[in-house]
Each structure stands twice: as structure tokens, then as C-alpha cells.
């Protein structure tokens, strides 16, 4: 039996990569700008919201995982667009963005035991996560927009390795029961 994650059609991947390739020359021109704006962005204070976020009260079925270590400036952006400062023990939703500042980082463990560590100056979208803890069917799609991540795959990777993917601007990574690092340069 296969995982019920909708497969990312390779044609779609190719389409988006083709677009990225078209931007190649522009990329070189804008690169310095990106670097500068990155630095400014890293120094800007996070939009802090100290009140307990609604997603920390998610039921196990609604949450994707729990933040473990949080170092420095780490923010969670929900589907609604609201930003909150992340703390260890916070729940992460299936569609959340994790952003880290310079010299910052965070780790989380998803419900299937997949461990993700996000490095400094990174932006990671948890685009899709679903997991049936009784049958261990599920799927996971993570997009690293910039920075670095380390992933140690969990139960979904064991039962349905095809249903686990990490994508960046230039590559789509499929897994076979694994511990690996991905680095993605800033998007031009």
C-alpha cells in the first residue's frame, strides 16, 4: 500500500525549475541586493506576540509536531499570516513557516518521529504533513526557501519513503530512510 500523499508531479517540478532557470541572469544581477536585504531582515526585531498561540492547543491530529530546541530569533508564521515568536514546546501546524535569524536555529520532531533541525538565516515551509498513527500511513512535504536544514526521517520515511520530499528552488530530494543536510542559497 502506498502513502496517500498526492504525488508531486515531476512535470510540475520541471515547470517551476524551468521558471527558475529563466531567472538565472536576473539572479546574478539581484544577488547583492538580496544579501543586503537579508542582513537588514535578520536584524529587524521579530513581531513578538507573547500571548499563547492558538496552535499550542491543537489536538494531536491537528498538529504536525512540537518544537524542541529554539535558539535566538525564531518565528512561526501560520496559514493566516500571523507571526509569533517560537518557544520550545510550541506546536507546529501542517502548514506553517519557520524563519530563523542569524546565529539562530530550531529543532522540531514531527508526529511520526521525523526530526528537522533548521539552521541560521533560514526559511522553511512545512507544506504538507499528514500521519495516521494507527496505520502509519502519511506524507510529508518540506520546502527549504533558503538557509539549511537537517532531516532525520521517521516512521513515514520507513513505511512510505516515496511520500517524503524536500524541495528547494533547484532540486527535489526523495529519501530512503535517512539523515541528511540540505542547504539552499538565498532566492535570487
Amino acid at each position: 500500500m502506498q502513502g496517500d500523499i498526492p504525488r508531486v508531479p515531476l512535470a510540475a517540478i520541471r515547470g517551476s525549475l524551468a521558471k527558475a532557470v529563466v531567472k538565472k541572469n536576473l539572479a546574478l544581477a539581484f544577488c547583492g541586493l538580496v544579501f543586503v536585504s537579508t542582513a537588514v531582515w535578520a536584524q529587524s526585531p521579530p513581531a513578538t506576540d507573547a500571548a499563547p498561540s492558538p496552535s499550542t492547543r491543537l489536538t494531536p491530529e491537528q498538529r504536525a509536531g512540537i518544537l524542541k530546541s529554539v535558539r535566538g530569533d525564531v518565528r512561526l508564521l501560520g496559514e493566516s499570516g500571523a507571526t509569533r515568536a517560537a518557544q520550545s514546546g510550541d506546536a507546529v501546524s501542517p502548514i506553517d513557516r519557520i524563519e530563523t535569524g542569524a546565529e539562530s536555529g530550531a529543532s522540531l520532531v514531527l508526529r511520526d518521529g521525523t526530526t528537522i533541525v533548521v539552521g541560521p538565516s533560514s526559511r522553511l515551509d512545512l507544506k504538507q504533513f499528514h500521519f495516521d498513527s494507527t496505520t502509519r500511513d502519511g506524507g510529508l512535504l518540506v520546502s527549504l526557501l533558503r538557509g539549511s536544514l537537517r532531516m532525520i526521517t521517521g516512521l513515514i520515511g520507513k513505511t512510505h519513503p516515496d511520500a517524503v520530499r524536500v524541495e528547494t528552488q533547484t532540486a527535489v530530494i526523495g529519501i530512503r530512510g535517512t539523515d541528511f543536510i540540505v542547504q539552499a542559497d538565498p532566492q535570487p
Binding site: 517540478i13 520541471r14 525549475l17 527558475a20 532557470v21 538565472k24 539572479a27 546574478l28 544577488c31 547583492g32 538580496v34 544579501f35 492547543r57 491543537l58 494531536p60 512540537i66 518544537l67 524542541k68 530546541s69 529554539v70 520550545s88 514546546g89 510550541d90 506546536a91 539562530s104 536555529g105 529543532s107 520532531v109 508526529r111 518521529g113 526530526t115 533541525v117 539552521g119 541560521p120 498513527s133 494507527t134 527549504l144 539549511s148 536544514l149 537537517r150 528552488q169 533547484t170 532540486a171 527535489v172 530530494i173 526523495g174 529519501i175 530512503r176 530512510g177 535517512t178 539523515d179 541528511f180 543536510i181 540540505v182 542547504q183 539552499a184 542559497d185 538565498p186 532566492q187 535570487p188
Partner: protein
């Protein structure tokens, strides 16, 4: 050393980074060894090619705009750790596992299992963002649907004990695995106490 010289050296660093980022916007994937030494692998797909990594510290580089499959080379393990210190420093400790058994009749937890639960609770409380995943199991007596329900009820009962002792509910999950993971394999419809259990994972 003069302040000015120190400043000049510090100023060099960002521009070098800038150059590196500019010349090759790329994705780099490094395969790490499994903690138990078992083989693993990743496949890195680009627009018009794919490469598999199957040995630890192999690296695939997919540059933006490059043609063909990703370029594979091997990196120095120490260098990977030094360049990505946060990815190693912040990795959570490996999960811990405990098992809880029930007395005959299946309602009370054995004294030895009480001790295991205390240890699990202490371990979870001492971890940053610690959580407890409680998985109930059943033996092969009854239908699989009945055993899914029975095993979930076992897990919920153990979860309730953690909650009564003050562990935060939002960092627990109760799971029923039915008869899928027997500790001792048996033929169908076999009563087996060692399979009527609850496993506890502390993350």
C-alpha cells in the same frame, strides 16, 4: 593589533560570502551516516537529471541554471560539522522507550510498570519541549477493529495517569496500534500477556 586592522579583516568576511552566494546559487545535499550504521540514501532530482547519494558524506550540488544531473562529490565530515554547527548542536536527544504491562484482566498496571512511568515522566520533563507518545497494543484475540479500539483505550488510560500527575496534555499523544506490532509473534486468536502492553516514547 590596531582597531582599524581588525575592522578591515572583519569587513572582508561578508563580501566573500556575498561572492560565494552570487557565483553559484545552489542547493547542496549532504548524506549523513545513520546513528545505527544502517545503509540509507537520498535521491536529488533537478530539472533534467537525478543523482543518488548512498554513502555518508557524499554531497550533491544542484546549481541554479546548471544543466544535467547534480554534481556529486564527497565532503570532509569535520568540515560539514563545523560549517553546520547549529544543525548538530540543536538536534534533539534520541527518543527513549518504556513499556507498561497490565495485570491479568487488563485494568491495573503492574508495580514495575509504575516505576517505568515515573522514569518516563521525569525524562520528558527534563527535555526541552519534551513530549510523551503513548502507544497501546493488543494481542491477537478478537478482530483487528476491536483490537484497534482496545489498544487505544489502553493508551488513553496510561495517558490519563500522566495527565493526573500534571504532565501537559498538549504534549502527549495516545495511539492505538491494535495487533500490528506484537512483542511476541503468535498465531491468530492467541492470548498473550506480553502483547497486551503500552509502549511509551519520550521525545
Amino acid at each position: 593589533m590596531t582597531t582599524r586592522r581588525r575592522f578591515a579583516r572583519a569587513a572582508l568576511l561578508p563580501s566573500m560570502l556575498l561572492l560565494a552566494a552570487c557565483s553559484t546559487p545552489a542547493t547542496r545535499v549532504v548524506l549523513l551516516p545513520q546513528s545505527d550504521g544502517s545503509p540509507s540514501g537520498v535521491v536529488v532530482n533537478t530539472e533534467d537529471g537525478a543523482e543518488s547519494l548512498s554513502a555518508p558524506y557524499q554531497r550533491a550540488t544542484a546549481a541554479l541554471g546548471a544543466h544535467g544531473a547534480p554534481v556529486v562529490d564527497t565532503v570532509d565530515p569535520q568540515r560539514v560539522k563545523a560549517d553546520n554547527a547549529a544543525l548538530f548542536d540543536l538536534a534533539p536527544a534520541p527518543a527513549l522507550h518504556y513499556t507498561v504491562y497490565f495485570d491479568v484482566g487488563g485494568t491495573t498496571i503492574t508495580p514495575a510498570s509504575q516505576i517505568a512511568m515515573n522514569e518516563a515522566m521525569q525524562a520528558a520533563l527534563s527535555r526541552s519541549g519534551g513530549e510523551i507518545v503513548i502507544t497501546g497494543h493488543a494481542d491477537a484475540v478478537g478482530t483487528s477493529a476491536q483490537n484497534d479500539e482496545l489498544s487505544l483505550n489502553r493508551a488513553l488510560r496510561v495517558r490519563q495517569i500522566f495527565l493526573e500527575r500534571g504532565f501537559p496534555a498538549e504534549r502527549t499523544e495516545a495511539v492505538g496500534r491494535g495487533q500490528r506490532d506484537p512483542a511476541v509473534p503468535t498465531p491468530a486468536e492467541t492470548s498473550e500477556a506480553r502483547n497486551r502492553r503500552v509502549t511509551i516514547e519520550v521525545r
